[in-house]
């Protein structure tokens, strides 16, 4: 797949189309590259679940089963694979666009039951202006915990949700040759990088559930919501690591994928997870109760209402991202283009709130102070390969003069600068009258004579109100500074696999996980410091000095916002700029955060050009 998933236009398959595609497999069940097992052959099972269905199965030869559920009987094909004491089977129910993936622990007789279905008709944001119906192709799931009723007393402790997978990362290689890098930084999501299905090494995010069977055995699933809607579900033995599971849903070609697999894993690292030690993730995030009264004894006033069937913590940003054309965006930019108009704008340093005022909620509370590092300097930035050549004259802290030697016109503009490392300036300003509206974010190394500029402008081929950025590398020329001829800042993969929490203020923290040389994700902490909602974007990394980098991302197909930070790992601090546009015009702002290193995955061996079959 070449087109990135967040840009791919997945077909809005209808219920009828889905039904027609399911019909041929309902009677035969899933395929598998590995030989099916036959533990269940000839057996009858009654699975009783808590607050869920009672499923009475009769397994016949030739991968056929009969299911009696709520007085209805169905016959279908099924597949079965075992992993240690777990027997896993999967089947559809003819004509219902639903099926079951069931994991039975043969030692304990406990069961985890996934009901999966398509064409859900589920509405999100019901009753609000932003209401929409989920795509029929998006596989829904509901998890039930129960046991096999063999006439004996059921075990008191069922399988349950868990946070024990949080922070782990595993490269899985399936028996069909598919390789996927899966990182589990959140209790509610997965980062996954398709190492064989996709051409690019981009990480994506999908909502997930994690179920603890025993200390070495986890049941897991993810659904690629907002992408193809396909569902992957497996049980993993972490001692191996090994897996058996199923993939069910429609791919980008609208082909039905319904196959079971075995896979072998390789642990690629472990991030810290920061919730309290007595927090075991028993309650899934989608069912989270409202925050308890602070300090009030934890007596549940009433049983929290059950989460709606199929509920999950899914971020669906593009649903509310209004599309603007390039012309609409330019018109808005002409009305209003603001630089540093947020708190601490033209009048003074950011982050300095009025005495006694609550800390600012976003962006600037923990930023670095602005620097006068540029004041009194005149220099030329000459970028390679025919890139821009700009002269700068800077006499004061918040205003500078520059000219592009191409048009030889001096401009007076607002700017903000940081000293991101010793004698290393990091500043930004708007390019006046630019069409599309543009800005630059520039690192100038006054020790080494090097410069990198992130050249940004409004508009991508998808949205007028998304930004496009590119790095250009070159030198800084000024009296007393010798610019190198060959040495340059350069794109880097040194940060890949690292995770940092970034606290922009005391109220807003997210964790960045640098998933590949070209992508990252951000994960939101709950009040209990559990990592929850997550999303992802492409990005780039530039190395300025050892431990000092530029990180630049655009929240593509999300809100189009660009964030570009100078990241100093020695100080665990970043500082930088935001650039975005919309109906209210274009804004160049500042941002910065205090960081904590949360851990690192070893991922680099999986990236780069590959030999492909």
């Amino acid at each position: 797949m070449r087109i990135p998933m967040h840009r791919f236009k997945y077909t809005k398959l209808t219920k009828d189309q889905i039904g027609a595609k399911l019909k041929p497999v309902e009677g035969v069940g899933p395929t598998s590259a590995s030989a099916f097992t036959s533990v269940l052959n000839g057996k009858t099972l009654k699975i009783v679940t808590v607050d869920g269905p009672v499923l009475e199965y009769k397994f016949a030869a030739n991968k056929r089963l009969t299911l009696r559920e709520a007085g209805k009987q169905a016959t279908a094909g099924y597949g079965e694979l075992t992993l240690n004491q777990i027997v896993f089977f999967s089947h559809l129910i003819p004509g219902e666009q639903k099926g079951y993936n069931i994991y039975i622990d043969q030692k304990t007789n406990l069961a985890t039951v996934f009901e999966v279905w398509l064409s859900s008709g589920l509405k999100q944001n019901a009753g609000r202006p932003t209401e929409f119906t989920l795509d029929d192709r998006e596989v829904q799931r509901q998890i039930y915990f129960g046991h096999v009723d063999n006439g004996q007393t059921a075990a008191a402790k069922l399988h349950h949700y868990t946070n024990r997978m949080t922070g782990k990362g595993i490269r899985w290689k399936q028996d069909n040759g598919i390789e996927t890098l899966e990182l589990y930084p959140s209790v509610a999501n997965t980062n996954f990088v398709e190492l064989t299905r996709h051409i690019d090494d981009l990480g994506y995010v999908a909502p997930s559930d994690y179920v603890l069977v025993d200390d070495r055995t986890i049941v897991y699933n993810r659904t690629e919501c907002e992408f193809s809607g396909i569902h992957t579900c497996f049980v993993a033995d972490l001692y191996g690591p090994r897996q058996v599971g199923v993939r069910f849903g429609f791919n980008e070609k609208d082909e039905l994928e319904y196959y079971m697999f075995r896979g072998d894993g390789k642990v690629v690292g472990q991030l810290a997870y920061l919730e309290d030690f007595d927090e075991h993730g028993l309650r899934p995030m989608f069912a989270a109760a409202p925050p308890a009264a602070a300090g009030v004894p934890a007596v549940a006033p009433t049983t929290p209402p059950p989460a709606p069937k199929g509920a999950r913590t899914t971020y669906r940003p593009v649903r509310t991202f209004a599309h603007m054309t390039d012309a609409e965006m330019q018109a808005a930019a002409d009305v209003r283009t603001a630089a540093f108009a947020a708190p601490g704008g033209a009048a003074g340093p950011q982050g300095a709130t009025a005495a006694g005022a609550p800390p600012p909620p976003l962006a600037t509370g923990n930023n670095l102070p602005f620097s006068d590092i540029l004041v009194g300097k005149e220099f030329t930035l000459r970028f390679d390969n025919g890139g821009p050549v700009r002269d700068y004259r800077i006499k004061e802290m918040y205003k500078l003069q520059f000219r592009d030697q191409k048009d030889n016109v001096w401009h007076d503009v607002d700017y903000r600068a940081y000293e991101g490392d010793d004698n290393l300036a990091w500043f930004s300003h708007i390019i006046p009258d630019s069409k599309p509206r543009a800005c630059v974010m520039v690192a100038v190394d006054f020790t080494n004579g090097l410069s990198t500029s992130i050249e940004s402008h409004m508009g991508t081929e998808y949205y007028g109100n998304e930004t496009t950025y590119r790095p250009v590398f070159g030198v800084a020329e000024m009296p007393g500074l010798e610019a190198p001829i060959y040495v340059r800042h350069e794109l880097t993969d040194e940060l890949v696999g690292n995770a940092f929490s970034w606290s922009y203020s005391d109220q807003v923290t997210s964790m960045h996980l640098y998933t590949s040389p070209h992508s990252m994700s951000w994960v939101i902490f709950t009040g209990a410091q559990q990592l929850g909602a997550e999303w992802c974007s492409p990005c780039i990394f530039v190395k300025l000095r050892p431990g000092v980098y530029i990180f630049c991302q655009n929240e593509e197909a999300c809100n189009g916002n660009q964030m570009t930070e100078l990241l100093n790992t020695k100080a665990s601090h970043d500082c930088g700029f935001t650039f975005n546009g919309g109906a209210r015009g274009v804004n160049l702002g500042v941002t910065g955060a205090i960081g904590r290193h949360i851990g690192k995955f070893d991922l680099l061996e999986f990236y780069g050009p590959k030999r492909r079959a």
């Binding site: 995030m285 602070a294 971020y315 005022a357 976003l362 109220q507 997210s510 939101i524 999303w535």
Partner: protein, 237 residues
């Protein structure tokens, strides 16, 4: 209308219970040189029972707030009640008061009890706790201390906040200490209702449980009325 003052320190009441309260009430009545009506033992007992009922009502009010039972809270107000909160007046039980407790407080996780921020505990003389029941037993005024969490949804188009809202967060919270100033009156059925409630905030701090320090903060008073602010007050004071 004669008012019998049943003043007491909350801590004292907690320690000594209703019996002590009765003694205090009786003492207050006699020491104040009230009329024979006020000294009437039967009336004293009746007033003490009313006081007890009002204390229970306030206890129920706080518990309902703690448990997020907005409808129970709203149900304690008179039809034409009003609430003063941070410079805004919310009028009418089914309109402004409902808007305050069901919408504004829920969105901001406001109103729930919270231990005082360290170093910001109210002084003893600020922890007023009194119930004054009118001699006709149809109205009363009370002051009770509070120590609550107050919050405000963070307003931003930021994806971080949009995602935080998925898990019920994205709210900036702080601690407030002060006193409730409450006017009660009986409805036609003889049940006590809150006619007017004022949050008289004495101190605020940037604090949440578990933090070892806090700093004072100021909070902007409400500046927009309903419907310009969908959760706003009917009037500004």
């Amino acid at each position: 209308m004669k008012i019998l003052k049943l003043n007491s320190r909350r801590s004292f009441i907690w320690t000594m219970g209703a019996g002590a309260s009765a003694v205090l009430a009786s003492t207050a009545g006699m020491a104040g040189g009230e009329t024979a009506t006020a000294a009437d033992p039967a009336l004293q007992v009746a007033l003490l029972q009313e006081e007890k009922a009002l204390r229970k009502l306030h206890q129920a009010f706080e518990q309902a707030l703690n448990r997020g039972l907005d409808e129970e809270v709203i149900g304690m107000f008179a039809d034409d009640a009003e609430v003063l909160f941070n410079g805004g007046v919310f009028k009418q039980r089914n309109q402004g008061v409902t808007r305050l407790y069901r919408d504004r407080f829920r969105a901001g996780t406001t109103g729930r009890w919270m231990a005082p921020a360290p170093g910001f505990e109210l002084a003893a003389d600020q922890q007023r706790d009194s119930v004054e029941v009118a001699a006709d037993r149809k109205s009363a005024q009370a002051v009770f201390p509070y120590s609550i969490q107050v919050g405000m949804p963070l307003e931003s188009d930021s994806s971080l906040l949009a995602m935080a809202r998925l898990h019920g967060e994205g709210v900036q919270t702080w601690w407030e200490g002060g006193v409730y100033k409450i006017a009660y009156r009986k409805d036609a059925a003889g049940n006590w209702r809150i006619g007017r409630l004022e949050y008289d905030t004495l101190t605020r701090a940037d604090y949440r449980p578990g933090k070892r320090h806090a700093r004072p903060i100021s909070v902007a008073r409400m500046a927009r009325r309903f419907p310009e602010d969908p959760q706003g007050p009917d009037d500004l004071v």
